[in-house]
């Protein structure tokens, strides 16, 4: 279509249209074009219905596009700090401040507050892991790191290696070097810091030591110091989030950072369970440090001394608090949230602003708690939201305790003994089947058997006669057979009585002469047995 035509016809049309509908201004406005700038020819004044329609549609499309663009822009201006940053820097106070001065960094902390979709906005996460004698867990830990779906270059890794007697340090640097020289650039992480600091821990790191009740207070305080040192040494102004993760997590969703971040809470923890061997029930809540405060807990806290630390999960301090771990439903909605007062440290995602504001892991008894539980308490005190996800579960490594190990050893011994027995049985069986010619021996066997039975029967008949003459006077109306039948307590084994303990053949059993078996021996009764009333009652 030709533009001049369109322009012209449009003017015409609009003029006539507004004449019909509205007042002076619009008329005048339209005639402005007509008089001043638009040349007209008679043939153009014709009405072009077809064209009018398409022009109309086009105009509407333009308008719609413009409108949509405006809305999108306005919305992204509201939502995206980076866009706002560029826009504001163009019109507002110069954000190019301090750019020309060597050795100076300028940060507007309000750009690093953290949002629900940080991975889209380039929000940096500080990923923190305190390590001690963790050599065994490192390869697994790095496989988790590799699998993280959050953009790796936005994750700054920081480790604290303290009081390690094994090869943690060397293995860690090797693995990090390997990671950073990966052919896939998307595998590279951001800044990496490894801090070495020994605190002189007196308490061992194996499961029974570290979870013994008496060891918990001082141990937690020491862990708190380690966490604080790591955090303070590596937290930079440009971090929006801080993620704490223990090295001994066995299974976790690869999108855990995004999953937790989406909730946009100040502090958020998943549920932590651990898998167990089947003889212990397959699975078990692991992290009992995530809980809601209870009345009992507060009462208990009020009774304790200033420096005492309540440690959750021990019978010594029964607090009756609702634990995040116990509220898990394997089929529950993973997005369900629950307010917490204490948190566990296996996996914590927190906004960096929480730590900037001063929240930390108390290395002293803060409201009767230390370390991560104290951190939860402190965050609540500072009015931050502390949330747990009861149905979003990560799995901690199962480390057998010394009791478990003992039990496992016993089980192993039993298993070996059982296998040995089975093997012997099987061997005996094959020996029996292979070693004997059963057909050949059968005749002699039958012959021998018959002779034995005959002899036994003869002997019994003699004894029976003797007993009948003995017993008539004593047992008033009671036959000896009734004695042998047993009672409510079960069949009686009259081992030492006459007539008992004699081997019988199948024939006799069929005739009903065998009453029962006891201890591998056979009780015998010559008379066929009919169930009495008493017996049927207890049958």
């Amino acid at each position: 279509m030709s533009l001049p035509t369109s322009r012209h016809s449009h003017t015409q049309y609009s003029n006539g249209y507004s004449n019909g509908y509205s007042g002076g201004y619009k008329n005048g406005h339209a005639s402005y074009y007509k008089d001043e700038s638009w040349a007209m020819s008679p043939q153009d004044s014709k009405y072009h219905p077809k064209f009018r329609k398409s022009a109309y549609a086009r105009r509407r499309l333009f308008l719609k596009l413009g409108f949509v663009f405006l809305v999108v822009f306005g919305f992204s201006l509201l939502v995206s700090p980076s866009l706002r940053f560029t826009v504001f820097s163009a019109i507002g106070l110069g954000y190019s401040l301090y750019k020309d001065i060597p050795g100076v960094e300028y940060h507007d902390l309000s750009l690093y507050k953290g949002s629900a979709t940080g991975w889209q906005r380039g929000e940096r996460i500080l990923f923190l892991s305190p390590l001690r004698d963790a050599e065994a867990h490192l390869p697994m830990f790095f496989s988790h790191l590799r699998n993280l779906t959050y953009p790796h270059h936005l994750i700054d890794l920081a480790f604290l290696v303290s009081d390690s007697k094994d090869n943690t340090m060397n293995l860690l640097t090797d693995l990090l070097k390997k990671q950073q020289s990966d052919a896939d650039h998307n595998q590279w992480f951001g800044e990496i810091t490894v801090i070495e600091k020994d605190f002189g821990a007196a308490i061992g790191q194996d499961f029974s030591n570290r979870h013994g009740f008496a060891a918990q207070g001082p141990r937690r305080k020491l862990m708190a110091r380690a966490r604080n040192w790591l955090l303070n040494a590596t937290l930079k102004p440009h971090h929006s989030w801080v993620y704490w993760r223990d090295a001994d997590v066995e299974t976790a969703p690869t999108s855990i950072l995004e999953d937790l971040m989406r909730h946009n809470k100040d502090v958020i923890v998943p549920n932590v369970w651990r898998p167990l061997p089947d003889w212990l029930g397959n699975e078990q809540p692991y992290d009992l440090n995530s809980w809601q405060e209870s009345e009992t807990g507060l009462e208990l806290a009020a009774k304790l001394g200033e420096d005492d630390v309540i440690v959750e999960g021990y019978a010594e301090y029964a607090t009756w608090r609702p634990h995040l771990a116990y509220l898990r439903d394997p089929r529950g909605d993973p997005d369900v949230e629950m307010e917490l007062d204490g948190v566990g440290g296996v996996s914590i995602l927190a906004k960096a602003s929480v730590f900037r504001a001063g929240a930390h892991f108390p290395a002293f008894s803060f409201e009767k708690h230390a370390e991560t539980e104290g951190f939860g308490k402190m965050c609540r005190r500072m009015k931050f939201t502390v949330i747990g996800l009861p149905h979003y579960t990560i799995w901690h490594l199962y480390e057998p305790s010394s009791d478990d190990l003992k039990h496992m050893k016993e089980m192993e011994e039993q298993r070996i003994a059982h296998e040995k027995e089975e093997k012997e049985k099987a061997e005996q069986k094959t020996r029996l089947e292979e070693g004997w010619d059963i057909k050949k021996d059968k005749d002699t066997w039958d012959k021998d058997q018959k002779e034995i039975i005959d002899a036994a029967l003869k002997a019994k008949e003699v004894e029976k006669g003797a007993m009948a003459s003995k017993g008539t006077g004593k047992d008033s109306g009671k036959t000896p057979d009734q004695d042998l039948r047993g009672s409510r307590e079960g069949p009686i084994a009259h081992v030492d009585e006459p007539g008992v303990g004699v081997l019988t053949t199948e024939d006799e059993e069929k005739k009903g002469q065998i009453v029962g078996h006891e201890n591998g021996r056979v009780k015998q009764n010559k008379l066929p047995v009919e169930p009495t009333k008493q017996e049927s009652q207890f049958a």
Binding site: A90, L97, P102, G122, V194, R225, K236, F364
Partner: protein, 357 residues
């Protein structure tokens, strides 16, 4: 509505759209060729773009291994080349403050500076003034440059009203000091890098101190030590001085008992007639004739000038933004230091001077 839409020509619409696009381009355009990004501190050194933070770097960032086992904080910091971090919450910029800062005679290559300014008009002005002052220093000879300087803008609001009267109104104190505490925490926990041994808190209104302030305080080799803060004033044409900072004190029975009767979220304040605490204030313990280096034990400290071993902050000692044992900010800090098992000290005869408004 329908009529108006119909009356505009496609050309006009085109113009409008073009105009809009031009406007948008103009708004976004500066960032496309100037080195401005959301994340200024990208480990990547390649020229950043607005989306630099969203794309992976071109070279893999390296691995820093830092041992903090040999980090010392001793009575003679210069001998071990111990690094000092001077932190200042900067509500207002005074030239006298900066001049005094430049007079400190500890080697500047061992000094890091940290400032935090509120996002208010006053904060903007302070930021700009500081920029000018720092530009002069950092463009000077290499020897006189500070090792590193970090300037932060607060990500939280400040209670308004910074005039002397408003600032000291008892009701406003809690909010003001909570905000101040938060500023201090934001500053120390983001600038305390692993090589630093000492942290010196120096308020922006400290305009006079001995040039050897740091060495003199470090000489005592205490975890936390605070000098006495006075103020010079003119009376009938004669310069006199008077105590200024009342936050350094030894606790009293009265104050402790008062604390016991208070609710959890109430705070004890010093220097208000409505709340007599009868604490032993360091401000009043000054003896002009006595030795400058006399020490005294303290239970609360002021923050106008305060030297702290970095390890204390690393252990977690911070400035409570909430009533901690009914104490807040620097006084709460002293309490937290004591909860962590250390003792703050004061030097009643060693003076620094506060600006007189």
């Amino acid at each position: 509505m329908g009529t108006r839409l119909q009356r505009s020509s496609p050309f006009r619409l085109l113009f409008a759209l073009l105009g809009l696009l031009l406007f948008l381009w103009w708004m976004i355009q500066p960032s496309s060729h100037s080195p401005r990004t959301l994340n200024i501190n990208l480990p990547d050194s390649s020229p950043p773009t607005p989306t630099a933070a969203l794309t992976p770097p071109k070279t893999a960032p390296g691995i820093n291994v830092i041992s903090m086992n040999n980090l010392t904080a001793t009575a003679n910091p210069l001998k071990n080349s111990e690094r000092l971090l001077i932190l200042t919450p900067l509500a207002r910029f005074y030239d006298e403050y900066f001049d005094n800062l430049l007079k400190l005679n500890y080697p500047r290559n061992l000094i890091d500076l940290g400032f935090i300014t509120p996002k208010t008009h006053a904060g903007n002005i302070a930021t700009l003034k500081l920029q000018d002052a720092l530009r002069k220093v950092q463009h000077g000879p290499k020897k006189s440059r500070f090792n590193k300087i970090t300037i932060l803008r607060q990500d939280f609001g400040t209670p308004t009203g910074q005039s002397e009267k408003e600032r000291h109104a008892m009701k406003a104190q809690k909010d003001r000091r909570a905000s101040m505490a938060r500023a201090r925490n934001s500053l120390v926990f983001t600038t305390l890098n692993p090589t630093i041994s000492w942290v010196l808190w120096l308020d922006s209104d400290i305009i006079e101190s001995p040039p050897s302030l740091f060495q003199d305080l470090a000489k005592h080799n205490k975890q936390v030590i605070v000098p006495n803060c006075f103020q010079r004033y003119k009376e009938n044409g004669v310069w006199k001085e008077r105590p200024y900072d009342f936050n350094s004190w030894q606790d009293s029975e009265t104050a402790l008992n008062l604390g016991k009767t208070m609710k959890d979220d109430e705070i004890l304040l010093e220097g208000y007639a409505e709340m007599p605490t009868y604490r032993a204030l360091m401000a009043y313990q000054r003896d002009e004739k006595a030795d400058k280096h006399v020490e005294m034990l303290l239970d609360g400290v002021g923050g106008t000038a305060l030297l702290v071993k970095a390890s204390i902050h690393r252990d977690g000692a911070m400035f409570p933004t909430f009533p901690f044992y009914h104490l807040i900010e620097t006084e709460g800090f002293a309490k937290m230091v004591r909860r962590l098992g250390h003792q703050p000290y004061g030097l009643p005869n060693y003076l620094v001077y506060h600006y007189n408004e």
